[in-house]
């Protein structure tokens, strides 16, 4: 299916989702839906780097938080910037962070990149905690505007923005997959040495992947301060993001754009239910255990399992 066709269908589906959410008549749908869509973006973003090129990012929370805090900075500076622009800025900031970190660590083995991302998350959190302008460790209030154009209330507006981001992220991932860039990424994952010998500029492609991945995570984080209203480092840098960013694509399936979507929808919904019915911590335990189980038993994720079942059904 060509790009335009896919995009149209995705937009139509998104509109349908929004209409359905409004139809339910319960504001909670938008609150929970925002989180689920946020994870769709994060999982898709992680997969562009982790699934396509094979370079694992343990510190997704850092990129998410950079997007969130770039919004906080703009709010504290009292800049009259509409939220969609803040999303773009968040993306640019996180993209630059991704580029910088990639430049420092991507020449080395994938292992060291992974460790560096984890250390990065911890260091960035330390810096933010020490930065009083954005509230430091105590945090700061982000007040939602009283009125919002086009939408009934602010949460619906946030939901719509995240819905739009999800469409863009999924479309981007799918387009990359089928493009020359996607082939390049796949060779990096399969055999970097052979890729270089075949003319693939591996470092450049890895930097592109890191930047794109970081940018989308930053964009997912940019509206977060308005969603949560009280912005603390602990909220943005929560390990939840780091683990979910990995678990959702790995459980969904890393080889296609569909995997992170399925993984995010399933796991995020599961976690919303678990948080309501049990405690917030138990749902994290579930995610962690599921990650371990899937990585051991079903390494190709749900998409992989589905493919096997379909193949067997055909014969």
């Amino acid at each position: 299916m060509r790009l335009v066709g896919f995009l149209l269908i995705a937009i139509v589906l998104a509109l349908a989702v929004f209409a359905a959410a409004r139809g339910v008549g319960n504001a909670y749908v938008f609150y929970a839906g925002y989180v689920i869509l946020q994870y769709v973006v994060i999982a898709t973003a992680w997969n562009i780097l982790g699934g396509y090129t094979g370079y694992v990012n343990f510190g997704s929370s850092a990129f998410f938080a950079m997007g969130a805090y770039s919004t906080v900075v703009m709010v504290e500076l009292e800049l009259p910037i509409p939220l969609p622009i803040m999303v773009v800025v968040g993306g640019i900031v996180s993209g630059i962070v991704g580029l910088g970190m990639g430049y420092l660590t991507l020449r080395l083995r994938g292992v060291f990149f992974a460790i560096a991302t984890l250390a990065l998350a911890i260091v960035l959190e330390t810096i933010i905690v020490n930065w009083d302008f954005v509230g430091g460790g105590r945090g700061t209030y982000i007040i939602r505007p009283r009125s919002v154009p086009l939408f009934e209330d602010y949460v619906q507006y946030l939901f719509a923005i995240m819905l739009g981001l999800a469409v863009i992220a999924l479309t981007t991932a799918r387009t990359i997959e089928r493009s020359t860039l996607g082939y390049g990424f796949a060779t990096i994952r399969d055999d970097e040495l052979a890729a270089e010998a075949s003319g693939v500029p591996t470092l450049r492609l890895k930097l592109i992947a890191t930047t794109l991945s970081g940018a989308f995570m930053g964009m997912a984080g940019a509206p977060f301060p308005y969603y949560i209203s009280y912005m603390q480092p602990a909220s943005a840098f929560a390990l939840d993001y780091g683990v979910n960013a990995i678990a959702m694509p790995m459980i969904g399936g890393t080889t296609s754009w569909v995997g992170p979507l399925i993984g995010a929808l399933l796991l995020a919904t599961l976690q919303q239910l678990a948080t309501v019915m049990m405690s917030g911590v138990v749902n994290l335990l579930i995610v962690g255990v599921l990650l371990i189980v899937f990585v051991i038993a079903a390494p190709d994720g749900i998409v992989g399992l589905a493919r096997k079942i379909i193949a067997r059904w055909r014969t």
Binding site: G110, A119, I122, T126, N130, R189, L239, V281, L284, I292
Partner: protein, 292 residues
């Protein structure tokens, strides 16, 4: 007096660095020698700390002694983890995909350990008491807190024991060899997988001791492992992968750097120090100080 402050910061750094040896030495074995990226190692250390805490508070046993008693349990745990890892990943052949999954596996373990500890113990700080936590030796201008000295000494003893084991015993030398030439090892009649499993089990056993030393030095809470991730990998890489003496030198350097930063810059910048070490080492000399 500035010079007093400086000297005490350096000495504290050396003591701390000595302790870091205990925390890192397990990773030097699993990551440095076996090339298993056990990112969950700090999690096992915290687990060791909590177990030492339980035994201490239930039975009044000295925490370090408690850790020694638990050594066989941690050894068995390490063997079980390695077996799972081997069957699921390394044994299935090396490829970028299996490397990614192996990493995700250990990350999952790290995460599950932390969350499980939160569920069981809550997020409050836990601490132990012992005759050597509290007193401070005074040597001229030097202040030597016993709760830093004892772990440092135990840690360096642990290093000495392991270094002897790896260089003098058959299994120990086989462990050093298996990293370089598994085939030759097989020809000598040793099973590489069993050797690696033994080595990994030892690495987790060290986490038990390291955990006890940690809770002697400071109160713990479940997410305490996180700040150690950067530290242990920084020390491992700076020391040179697979070199235990290198680990000691690197640990001391990091300890001193952190201590100086905390004293003159503020304690909340400590994580940045290890990250800085790691980045600089990877950029300038990836093989580390004594790397092979």
């Amino acid at each position: 007096m500035f010079s007093e402050l400086l000297i005490n910061a350096i000495v504290a750094g050396i003591l701390l660095g000595g302790f870091y040896v205990a925390v890192t030495i397990g990773l030097s074995i699993s990551f440095g020698i076996l090339d298993v990226v056990n990112i969950a190692h700090p999690g096992f250390v915290i687990l060791g700390a909590y177990i030492a805490y339980i035994i201490h508070s239930q039975f009044g046993v000295d925490p370090i002694l408690a850790a020694a008693i638990m050594l066989p349990v941690f050894y068995a745990l390490g063997a079980a983890v390695y077996q799972t890892y081997f069957v699921s990943f390394e044994g299935r052949g090396q490829s970028a995909q299996t490397a990614l999954r192996g990493l995700a596996f250990f990350f999952g373990l790290l995460f599950v350990t932390e969350v499980a500890l939160i569920l069981i113990f809550g997020v409050d700080y836990r601490f132990v008491s012992a005759p050597y936590i509290g007193p401070t030796f005074e040597l001229g201008v030097l202040d030597l807190p016993a709760r830093l000295v004892v772990p440092c000494v135990v840690s360096l003893l642990l290093f000495a024991v392991l270094q002897l084991y790896l260089s003098r015993t058959f299994t120990g030398r086989a462990i050093m060899a298996v990293a370089q030439d598994a085939l030759a090892l097989r020809l000598m009649g040793a099973d590489p997988t069993r050797i690696k499993r033994t080595a990994f089990a030892i690495s987790i056993a060290t986490a038990s001791i390291a955990g006890a030393l940690l809770i002697v030095i400071q109160p713990i809470e479940p997410s305490a492992g996180r700040v150690f991730i950067g530290r242990v990998f920084a020390i491992c890489v700076l020391g040179g992968m697979g070199s235990l003496p290198g680990t000691v030198i690197a640990a001391m350097l990091l300890g001193i750097a952190e201590s100086l930063t905390a004293t003159f810059g503020g304690p909340s910048w400590a994580p940045a120090v290890s990250f800085g070490f790691l980045l600089v080492t990877l950029a300038i000399r990836p093989t580390g100080l004594l790397g092979r």
